[in-house]
């Protein structure tokens, strides 16, 4: 069975890679169909995710484990939202959209807004002139923090220009290096999976 799965991964993995290099209507047609299959599998995995989430919450509630109240709220939210969507539809004006607008919207926005306070507090504690490297980072941070708001323009256009320079050159250079590294790593890992060298995705240690 494992051998069959490895052959399937090899054939489909190679095809998905080669589709970018083979310009032929048949290849285009087949890769279009394969992409549709992937979407169907993903749809099914979303359903599995919902079932798994529901089961985990039910288990927490039935055992009255720590935080079972939160689990009850999660489960209730899940059931009500799904029912609202299925019964009333997801159009503007319906219950589903009202739950989104009046519950999810403010809750998500509030949670994200809290970050501002934690970032302020963390910056205060983290940016200290402990070493040369830390001082360079502190200076870069202060220049960018002020250079990316109109206040930086009051300090002079040079301030904003330096902030832009930091973002467009040292930052972009470092980011490019990381992206290339991650890309090479991902390519190496993909080749190992396609060739059956890396088999942990099969479960039981790939045996």
């Amino acid at each position: 069975m494992t051998l069959v799965l490895r052959v399937v991964v090899l054939v489909f993995g190679l095809f998905m890679l080669l589709q970018f290099f083979l310009v032929h209507p048949a290849v285009s047609w087949l890769s279009g169909r394969l992409n549709q299959w992937t979407n169907i599998v993903l749809g099914a995995s979303l359903f599995l995710g919902v079932v798994s989430l529901g089961r985990a919450q039910v288990r927490t509630i039935s055992k009255k484990a720590a935080g079972w109240g939160y689990a009850a709220v999660t489960l209730l939210g899940l059931i009500v939202t799904v029912l609202a969507g299925f019964i009333g539809g997801v159009e503007v004006g319906g219950l589903f959209q009202k739950i989104f607008d009046h519950l999810l919207f403010p809750l998500e926005a509030m949670t994200f807004a809290l970050l501002a306070f934690y970032i302020a507090s963390a910056s205060f504690r983290a940016f200290r002139v402990r070493s040369v490297e830390a001082t360079v980072m502190l200076l870069a941070a202060v220049i960018v923090i002020l250079g990316r708001v109109p206040l930086g323009q009051i300090l002079g256009s040079v301030w904003s220009d330096v902030a832009r320079f930091i973002l467009e050159y040292p930052n972009a250079g470092a980011k490019r290096a990381m992206t290339i590294g991650v890309g090479l790593g991902a390519a190496a890992m993909s080749i190992k999976v396609i060739l059956g060298i890396e088999r942990t995705y099969l479960g039981s240690g790939g045996k």
């Binding site: 992409n35 999810l104 926005a109 302020a120 923090i145 109109p150 009051i154 930052n171 972009a172 980011k175």
Partner: protein, 282 residues
Amino acid sequence: MGALRDRVAGLAAIDRRVIFVVIIAAVILPFYVPLGLKVTPGPGSRRFFDEVDRAARSGRPVLVSVDFGPDTEAENGQMLKGVLDHVFGRGGKAVVLTFQPTGRGVAERYLKEAGRAKIEGRDYVFLGYKPSPANVMLNMGRSFDLDFTTDAHGTPLGDLPLMREVKSYADLSLIVAVANNAIPRFWIQFAVEPFKVPLVTGLTGTMSPQFYPYLQAGQTRALLAGMQEAAEYEALLKEAGLASSPGLALRGMDSQSLAHAAIVLFIVLGNIGYLASRRRKR
């Protein structure tokens, strides 16, 4: 002298509640007492404006990818509003979709507002949410109907006049990705490179530093970074007569400026305290 030194050293350990109160004040006060700081459009926002303007005037529809949720609505929402006002204001058409589950509610809200004077199906189409961005993007390059048979409201694509014009990326003038995540990178990998379709991006301040390499490579033609450049874009729209009053991004710049100044002030105070305490230990 010793007491003063102790007090200065104490600055290194300011109670975080003090920081929170100052940040709240810095954010809220400018809404009641505006500072009136001037927002001058920079090269980034000008390039973004020019690209959207050219696309909206081209006569071919613009694809707008709404890849953010309510969490970053303060930043991304103003970009999306600006793009929709810009495209519709120039008589352009828009095909809108999202790859983020919570993006659907956000997109509907902004489309409803910006598309008040427009006809759905003729001037704009909302395709709704799809998972698996990489596959969908690849398929859209071949044919939209591989993954989309109806719009978000269940109307078959064939019944929508706008979608009769749009079969693949070749029929679009531009892709505008407004996001708080890495989905614009998928656009670059699976649409820009294989199908040579132009892309511009509007990103949150925290995501934008990751996209400068793509901007320099020309894979995203313009990058609107954070609320500052969203405000600059709003100012450009106002200049062009496409927005009548200052938007939320412009109004928010006073708050953001003051909050950033407060953060820098705390960093400076913290370091004064840190240096004083280090000297005391010696």
